[in-house]
Symmetry: C2
Subunit: 462 residues, 2 copies
């Protein structure tokens, strides 16, 4: 009965139960999580989403919302029962409004991140959220996971970009919170609850977003440093010198660079590879001048950096960014990889890498640490490649033990076991372990208040 | 029994029931809200706050937390029954940690805003929250009301400065969320619920805060413009030219300026007063140069501004800021004043002022609109001075009617009835009216989940 009701609500082009059509929606690209579904519906309006949720609520059927399905933790994948409804937001892909003077834009949840960047550029504005999956990930998913990416240092995460939300609640009620206000102290700031909740409290159907002035004079610089601690010290100096004009600040280990050069076609590296660590940074200065070259020269003379190269044009800059974005892909060619997307206080990044590397290589000698990422945000992708003489399966079996070692170090430094990827199905137990009863108890209280029948993406987060 | 229990918990120097000591805590400086209390306690540690809350929870006694008591909406004033416990955070005034390299600081709730600014400056960092009451308001109150001020344009409100919180929950449990992470997607972002909740969900006892590079080259500019619309157009141009280096952008009507010059000693004005509107703006450029003068010259030539003066030194700049900060005080001398602290989308500021002024002067001819404020945030203090030939009491009687007119205009433009001051006791009915059942229903659900016995600052917000 529910299936027929849902088909009626979304119309003939709004659902599928065809196995081939469903396949890409029932697993993630890493193929770790896999599920089944009663029916996949793709409503194309907020009212339709509300009707779907109401029908599901009446029959006690749970709903898994899905955007671009680019997640890594199984957050948008239904369970294996085949009893959950999969709700794709892909057809809700309109930019409803855009205002250059108000520096704001209103977009539906199914807009890809790239399309929102473009809509901002079309009115000479800049939408700063940027990450590797931007061509296919959707803004609803970006907000539901509080996505990060390379420009968080200057602009903050997805949360900081949200001025307002439209949300379909667990009983099918629509909450229209699509204001574009910079300041609003009229009661609780409800949108904050839904951001980062991975669809467990309601379904984000649209968002009003903050825009910024168009970027001028982007300049990309690659520097060689002795250690992560040197990178953190460099960051503090550059923030003082450049302030907000420092947009991105990414750490790469020499091993990460080497894997890219070995495995990814047509990549090259403009610096001597002797240095153990490199930083790829991007600035956007309002005024250009010789002071920039002088700044890096003085850093070289103080021995904080041992080498540096400024991209001569956007093509060279793009090559450098391609190198950075290819690390995960290159690492795949080195066998099994265990990923830990963690954050610590910025000042503790060097400490974390040192202690965690010692811990994992003591536990499994030969483990190759590939550390890289958003050091400006204290967010390191601490990935582990298998020992060269192990099988992938053998190494995968060590996953839980090595993760515990890494997360224990993170926890001892006041960090987080998830900085970008979220909790999904993957880290629920660890969340309980590391965040404790008080914090997870509060989360459960919020969940019970907003979704008393537990039909919104159950089994995710908490 | 409870009173004795509380006295035991906080010790002899931690409570008072003396009428003279209590007086400044039982009313606000405008003397609109006034209450009584069973006992005022001033715990000096988080554990002591927790013990107080636990004792109150056991006896079903409600608690009103109070910081610097600089609010305007009665949010920190107990009711008149004399049955509520007043909990002052003033003795919790330690800066627990400060790190230049991590760009962060951990402070207890009772630290004054000025003391936090100073603690940041002591390590060559900048804490951007700045408002008129900064010498006496406390960070716990700033966070509980999501305070704004003059630097929101560049840095965001109090919410954007919070990296983590320590909160005593309604049952006396302490939630330690004092992380200093830039990115954390491990479950719901619980701190967001307590920020802006005016103490109705728990008591903020400490916060980890975001710091920024020290400000360089601050420059203050006063310009004359034809209209609020011209100010908004100027803002868009300056944001494009200066980006984040534009720190503050404040609109003042000619009437507001005139009242200051008439009533506040030793104030002067460096521009011709013919213009109907003025903008006071502040920049902090990383590099200084002639382009700045050229920019304002080109704005003058394009007729977007009709006059401009750049402060020659900090003393001249301070004089200009003193002018801006004296508007409320000056307005008092013109008789009764009705205040409306509203926000609209930035692009609608001109429209709002036009329509609202027409509405109120049609309703009460002779009403003198004094409009000024944070136009860069869409936040206008739309204050109304009484007609010159009315009595203050006569005008005060029109308060509700005029507020309804103003708020109806705000609402029609997608704005908020409270941009800075919060809801407190003052605007509860209007919150229900303008935010509707779905939104206030969500707020009530959150309140019931976190404070089921309704003992945390009851009667405030919702």
């Amino acid at each position: 009965v529910l299936v027929e009701q849902l088909k009626d609500i979304v119309g003939p082009s709004g659902w599928t139960s065809d196995a081939t059509d469903l396949e890409p929606h029932l697993t993630e690209w890493r193929d770790i999580w896999r599920g089944n579904t009663l029916l996949m519906v793709s409503p194309d309006s907020t009212e339709m989403v509300a009707d779907v949720v109401r029908a599901c609520a009446q029959s006690g059927t749970s709903i898994v919302p899905q955007g671009g399905n680019t997640g890594l933790c199984g957050g948008a994948i239904p369970d294996r029962t085949g009893k959950q409804v999969l709700l794709s937001l892909s057809r809700m892909n309109r930019v409803r409004a855009a205002s250059a003077e108000d520096f704001s834009l209103v977009a539906e949840a199914g807009c890809t991140l790239a399309s929102i960047q473009q809509a901002a550029a079309d009115i000479d504005r800049f939408f700063p959220l940027s990450l590797a999956a931007e061509g296919s990930c959707q803004i609803g998913g970006n907000l539901s996971t509080n996505a990060g990416g390379i420009n968080v240092l200057r602009y903050g995460t997805a949360r900081a970009q949200a001025l307002g939300l439209e949300v379909v609640l667990a009983d099918g009620t629509v909450w229209d919170g699509l204001r574009t206000l910079r300041k609003d102290t009229a009661g609780y700031d409800l949108k904050q609850m839904f951001i980062g909740a991975e669809g467990t409290l309601g379904i984000i159907t649209a968002a009003s977003l903050r825009l910024y002035p168009a970027i001028r004079n982007p300049e990309t610089v690659l520097v060689a440093v002795e250690s992560p601690d040197a990178a953190v010290a460099l960051l503090a100096i550059l923030r003082a010198e450049l302030s907000d004009q420092l947009q991105a600040f990414e750490l790469m280990s020499a091993r990460a660079v080497r894997y890219v050069l070995n495995h990814i076609p047509s990549t090259s590296f403009p610096l001597d590879q002797e240095s153990p660590w490199f930083v790829l940074l991007e600035t956007a200065r309002q005024t250009t001048g010789d002071d920039f070259a002088a700044l890096f020269m003085s850093l070289y003379e103080s021995a904080l950096i041992s080498d540096a190269v400024v991209a001569k044009n956007r093509s060279e800059a793009n090559d450098l960014w391609r190198l950075r974005h290819s690390i995960s892909e290159a690492q795949k060619k080195e066998g099994a990889s265990l990923k830990h997307d963690i954050s610590v206080p910025v000042a503790e990044v060097g400490n974390f890498i040192r202690v965690a590397e010692t811990a994992v290589t003591r536990e499994v000698p030969g483990t190759r640490v590939v550390a890289f990422g958003h050091v400006g945000d204290g967010n390191i992708h601490f990935n582990l490649s298998q020992p060269e003489d192990w099988s992938a399966a053998e190494f995968a079996e060590q996953g839980q033990r090595l993760a515990s070692l890494v997360y224990d170090v993170v926890d001892s430094l006041g960090g987080s076991i998830s900085a970008e990827h979220g909790i999904g199905q993957a880290k629920r137990e660890q969340l309980l372990r590391y965040r404790g009863e008080t914090e997870t108890g509060l989360m459960k209280a919020v969940k019970a208040a907003l979704d008393p029948d537990n039909i919104m993406n159950p089994g995710k987060v908490i």
